[in-house]
Every structure is written in C-alpha cells, then in structure tokens.
C-alpha cells in the first residue's frame, strides 16, 4: 500500500495539503509545549532542561517502530521509502556549525519560526539570520562544493553498516534512548536553574 505518494494513492498536491495541516499541528504543539522559548534549546547544552532531547528521541523511536511494524504488516514498502544520502564529512561539519548556532541562538529552524510567529524578537532575528546563512551558502556554494560533496556514501542505514537487522537495531536504539532519558533526568537534577 504505502508509501502513499509513490504508489499513486494520493497525489503530490494532496501530499502538500496534508503536510500543511500536519505542519500547523506541529507548530501548535511546539508552541504550547514551550519550545518557542530560546531557553528550551539552550538548556540541552547546559543540562538544565532536556525536554528537547526527550521529545525528539521519543519522536524518532515512535516513528521507527511505526514504520517497522507497518512494514511487517505489509502496509508500507520500506524499499520505496526515501533514505537521505549520507555525506559523512559534511554531516559532521554541518552538525558542528548547526549545533553552535543552536546554542548561541537558542532556536532550531523549527522553533525559530515558531517563536517568530508569536512575535518573539530574538526568534525573528534568528530567522533573519537563518535566511542570511542560506543565501550566503547559496552564493558562495563554489567555495564549499568540495567539502559539501565529500565522502558520498549513498542512502546508508546504521543497521546495514553494523550488519544487524533493522528490528534488532530498533531494540538497541530504544534501549539507548531509555538510557539517555535516565541520564537527561539526572542532568536536570544536577544542573538546576530557577524556573522561568
């Protein structure tokens, strides 16, 4: 049956319409859980607020389990699901740059737009900076092209690289996530800040 677009069950346009509604829902939940505050994201770095880490890890393992079970029941063909191609070196460099930006700005692109839409000045400035960065990268692309395209590894999955089945890797990731949640709550107790 799935993926829905690849198998022509819904059209590209319906897909965009669904994405629009899901996006509104996502933004609403982000805002109502307090992610529009820059302290939420910066807190992960300083250890006093690990909600972001917990939320995104929970989302990842939920989606992962959902896909694996849907594949097991024959509802989705995993071979047709797009796997983002991996460029190892640029992923590391990009991760460091983005991470530094997240700590300094206190937003990620999603929460930045979320904060900007409720009128937070820091979030508006962050979003402006985001576009400046995007244009800077686009116009100076030739400077970065070599780094950007270094070590292309294709659509590689961790489970393939480790030589284990997708299901076994899922279990390992769930256990890792539980360990991280435990460590996160320990960190929140260890580095407390006053309520805000």
């Amino acid at each position: 049956m799935g993926p829905l677009v690849a198998n022509g069950i819904i059209s590209e346009n319906t897909n965009l319409l669904l994405a629009f509604f899901i996006g509104i829902g996502f933004g609403f939940v982000l805002e109502s859980s307090g992610f529009s505050s820059s302290r939420k994201l910066a807190g992960v770095f300083y250890g006093y607020d690990m909600v972001v880490l917990k939320v995104f890890f929970t989302a990842a393992i939920t989606a992962m389990l959902g896909l694996l079970f849907m594949s097991l029941f024959g509802w989705v063909d995993l071979d047709q699901v797009y796997v983002n191609p991996l460029f190892l070196r640029s992923a590391i460099v990009g991760g460091v740059v983005m991470g530094a930006g997240f700590i300094m700005g206190g937003f990620c692109p999603g929460t930045g737009i979320c904060g900007a839409s409720i009128g937070k000045i820091d979030a508006i400035l962050f979003s402006v900076g985001l576009f400046v960065g995007v244009y800077f990268f686009a116009f100076t692309y030739s400077w970065w092209e070599k780094l950007y395209k270094a070590t292309p590894l294709g659509g590689k999955k961790v489970s393939d690289a480790l030589g284990m089945s997708d299901g076994l890797f899922a279990l390992v990731l769930i256990l890792v996530a539980m360990g991280m949640f435990y460590a996160a709550e320990w960190a929140e107790k260890k580095f407390p800040r006053e309520e805000y």
């Binding site: 049956m1 939920t62 097991l72 797009y82 769930i174 996530a177 539980m178």
Partner: protein, 207 residues
C-alpha cells in the same frame, strides 16, 4: 508513575517483538490480474514501429530502446542506441533505475513480440509505467520499415506517404538492402552494439 518508566514499559516490549520477528521481504504486486488483463485487452502497451522509427530518426532523447533478447543476439544485431537487458535478468536490481522511472519512454523489443510482452507484463505488474512493446518486433521492423515495399498504384495516398516515410527512415537507419527475416532469427548486420548505460538516476525527495 514517572513518564519515563511508562514509556519504557510501552516501547521496550515493542522493540523486543520487532527484533525477534524476521523482516517482511514480500514484494507487493501493484497491479491485480484483472487490471493487467484490462490493459492487455486495450493494447495500450504497444508502440507502433513507425512512431519508434520517427523518434529514432529525430534522435529523440526520451526514447530508450531495450533489447530483451540474449546478449549474443544483441551483439549480432541491435537497433540504434538500444541497450540490452536480457529477459532472464529483468528483475535484477541493476536495472531497476532504468525500468522504473518517468523521464524516458522505454520500448522493449525482441524478434517477435512474445519476449518483449513478457518483459512488459513483469515490469507492469511491479507497477512501473513508461514501458512499452515494439509492435511486431524485429521481424516486422525488417519486413516493413527497413525493407519497405512500394504499394501498388491502387492504394490510397496515405499508403504512399507511409511508404515514403519508411523509405527515408530506412535510409537514415542504415537499412535498405536488408532482407526480411524468418520467424525466429534476426539477420546479422554491421551495427556495433552500444554499451548499456549504467548511470543511475538519483532519487529525489526527502525533507
């Protein structure tokens, strides 16, 4: 209870289940037998030889001829710019990017139409579009395109137009003197078989 504990109680058993069961490797057929029958009945899988010849003469880049005969037969003779995907290897992963795409028009051909139709049926059942069968196969191609015969004078003028087109197409495609083949073997010609283009088309999408 701590939400972390609730989450662990809910997710770890699911993880254990998914780690224990084997992955689902079954391939779904995306066309049911009645749907396939419907398509076969309308004959929409066939591509007319004149249309193919026209695209070949015009060097239409959207045309991709695919020879489904054996590599030996392909080496002996092939149509211009055709690539060889033997019927036995049609399901190989190597060719998925060529067969499953929506940019080019793939036209399968064999000596008759049996093998080409089999290739079309297999790929169609996998849900691939843009694959067609050269109507009449190479036998018809030799008899009527490369060896076009002048119609007798009682024929309507369309027949003469068709003949003129086929005669010039045949000249452009290096035919003319080739004789029509018998049922099972295609005659050898001096056409050098091009190498199959293995360049993979990147899938696009993602976040």
């Amino acid at each position: 209870m701590n939400p972390r504990v609730i989450l662990a109680v809910a997710l770890i058993p699911l993880g254990l289940i998914i780690a224990a069961v084997p992955a689902n490797k079954t391939k779904q057929f995306r066309l049911t037998a009645p749907e396939l029958l419907q398509e076969t009945a309308t004959g929409s899988q066939f591509m007319q030889p004149d249309a193919v010849a026209d695209m070949l003469v015009k060097n239409d880049p959207s045309l991709q001829l695919i020879d489904v005969r054996t590599p030996e037969e392909f080496a002996a003779f092939s149509l211009p710019r055709a690539i060889n995907i033997p019927l036995a290897n049609i399901l190989s992963d190597e060719y998925t990017d060529i067969l499953n795409q929506d940019a080019k028009t793939n036209v399968f051909y064999s000596n008759g139409t049996v093998q080409a139709s089999e290739a079309w049926m297999l790929t169609r059942q996998l849900g691939y579009t843009n694959n067609y069968v050269l109507e009449g196969g190479l036998n018809y191609w030799f008899a009527n395109i490369l060896g076009a015969k002048e119609p007798s004078s009682v024929n309507p003028s369309e027949e003469f137009a068709k003949y003129d087109f086929r005669k010039s197409a045949s000249a452009a495609l290096g035919g003319g003197s080739v004789v029509a083949s018998d049922n099972n073997t295609a005659p050898a010609a001096a056409t050098k078989p091009p190498v199959a283009n293995k360049a993979k088309k990147k899938v696009t999408g993602g976040c």
